[in-house]
């Protein structure tokens, strides 16, 4: 029986031998014997020895298991890669969401605040806006922008005169709001004079292009080219464009004042803001026209010039200078 059992364990027993073993094993008392023979067989095997035919099967099994774990490793690499990409994707997404969220929040929760810069009479201010654009603000002028400037908008409100050197940003055009006219630019140098008391808004373009936009209809009045001056009539929206020597209109930022064919009433305003001096004048002289340039002259010198080129007389009354028609000179002219 021992030999038979060994043959069975080795897989070399014939069917009839197996049948014999089955009959024998069906008797319960033989099972313990069978078990001890099994252990004996196992002990008798050389270490690591695999029965005939089993060697090949074992190698194949090793290969399959290796292949499986390799595939799994590859799978896990793919999964890792997937998760890596997924992570990057979600990171980008979350940043996007955060930016969207916070920017959305900022417009909801952060109060809009406005910054205003004022150049007092007698002063010229130079301002750097948050986007790096430079603004020279003429005397008696005010420029305002809100706290979203350079993030969500590039809008400035202007009353008075300013010279802009605008930093380029193709996505966010800079808009100068002069109430009756918007000046829209991407990046250029230009001068805007929008004094509330003047009949027209004056835009002089030194470099690049600007668009003049109707603030109500949001339509473009005109596209200016460099070297042009546009005078926009507040009264009838008429636009007059001509070529000019731009430096005449931008020189004020260097401290010069160019008066070019302007009525006395406008000249006086200019002088008031430039020299911080109050004037009063007679109605009959308000349309006298002047053309001159002021650089560093004192106010007295300018008034003397005015007295020379037109029949006016200046009288100092306390803090105010009164401009009157010079009867004597008028008589001379009449003669």
């Amino acid at each position: 029986m021992r030999t038979l059992i060994f043959k069975y364990l080795e897989g070399s027993a014939t069917d009839s031998e197996k049948a014999e073993l089955l009959q024998w094993l069906r008797k319960k008392e033989n099972r313990i014997v069978f078990h001890s023979y099994k252990l004996e067989w196992r002990k008798g095997l050389k270490n690591g020895q695999i029965t005939v035919g089993g060697e090949e099967s074992w190698n194949r099994l090793q290969e399959k298991l290796w292949q499986k774990s390799y595939n799994r490793w590859q799978e896990s690499l793919k999964t890792q890669q997937f998760f890596r990409y997924a992570a990057i994707f979600f990171f980008a997404l979350s940043i996007g969401t955060a930016v969207w969220h916070f920017s959305g929040q900022s417009s909801r929760n952060i109060q809009e605040t406005t910054t205003s810069v004022i150049a007092e009479n007698g002063q010229i201010s130079k301002i750097e806006l948050p986007d790096g654009s430079l603004v020279w603000l003429n005397s008696g002028s005010r420029i305002s922008y809100n706290n979203f400037y350079a993030e969500q908008n590039r809008q400035v409100e202007l009353s008075g005169e300013a010279y802009f050197d605008v930093a380029k940003n193709a996505e966010l055009p800079l808009v100068v709001n002069c109430n009756d006219l918007y000046v829209r630019v991407l990046g250029t140098k230009f001068n805007v004079a929008a004094y509330s008391w003047e009949e027209s808004i004056d835009v002089v373009l030194e470099e690049g292009t600007v668009e003049l936009v109707n603030p109500v209809a949001k339509t473009t009045f005109s596209e200016m080219e460099s070297g042009q001056r546009a005078q926009f009539s507040k009264e009838n929206s008429a636009l007059q464009v001509n070529d000019v020597n731009t430096s005449r209109f931008t020189a004020w930022k260097e401290g010069m004042i160019n008066i070019y064919d302007q009525p006395l009433k406008d000249v006086v305003k200019r002088l008031e803001i430039r020299y911080n001096q109050e004037f009063i004048y007679d109605k009959e002289i308000e349309d006298f026209r002047y053309t001159f340039t002021i650089e560093n002259e004192r106010l007295e010198e300018i008034i003397r010039v005015m007295e020379q080129i037109t029949p006016v007389k200046a009288i100092q009354q306390n803090d105010v200078i009164e401009l009157k028609i010079d009867e004597e000179k008028m008589r001379k002219v009449d003669r």
Partner: protein, 197 residues
């Protein structure tokens, strides 16, 4: 047959223990498969699959219980599955009585230390169940053609439907039976693991 230490080592994934199990069980597992499957390559595949399953499920091994009975359940189910898929393709499916190969009881006594249901009985049983679950019309066609072995033309005339319809019903029935038969296996594995752990 395997000492506690070997089983513990197998559980923790020691290749030496795995090889020990393989070399001691391979000849008998082969002998068992040969009782039902004639083709040597098919037998080889079944055994390989068994050991792969053993390796993959090694963590659920209980060192206090027999590895032989653990792997024997896997082996028997593998063989059963092969027989099932063969059977369903047979021209006539014998589900009344099959010749039971007596020698399998030797392996049962060896591996599980008790005599259990023969693989043939299990095969017939699961077939019967699967056939019983077919929809009435499909079942009628399947029983007539595949179990009683009647000619398709005969059955078509009997039931008053076209031969094409018969073919369609049979292939549908086959799919459904196969589905049912093969689904038994994974659930069994779970039960086995629960019982052994």
């Amino acid at each position: 047959m395997f000492d506690f230490e070997t089983k513990k080592q197998l559980k923790t994934g020691k290749p030496a223990a795995f090889k020990e199990v393989f070399r001691l069980l391979y000849p008998r597992m082969r002998g068992y498969c040969k009782l039902f499957i004639a083709d040597d390559n098919e037998v080889e595949d079944v055994i390989q699959e068994c050991f792969i399953t053993l390796w993959e499920k090694r963590k659920s091994i209980n060192p206090e219980k027999s590895i032989e009975s653990f792997i024997f359940v896997i082996l028997r189910n593998r063989c059963l599955n092969v027989l099932k898929s063969k059977k369903i393709e047979d021209r006539k499916v014998e589900i009344e009585n099959l010749d039971v190969n007596e020698l399998q009881y030797l392996y049962q006594l060896d591996f599980s230390e008790k005599e259990e249901k023969s693989i043939e009985e299990m095969l017939i049983e699961s077939f019967r169940e699967a056939v019983d679950e077919l929809p009435e019309k499909m079942k009628q066609v399947f029983v007539a053609c595949k179990i009683q072995g009647k000619k398709q033309k005969e059955v078509a005339e009997e039931l008053g439907i076209s031969v094409k319809m018969i073919e369609k019903q049979i292939s549908k029935a086959k799919l459904q039976i196969r589905d049912k038969l093969m689904k038994q296996y994974p659930s069994m594995v779970v039960i086995i693991l629960l019982l052994l752990s």
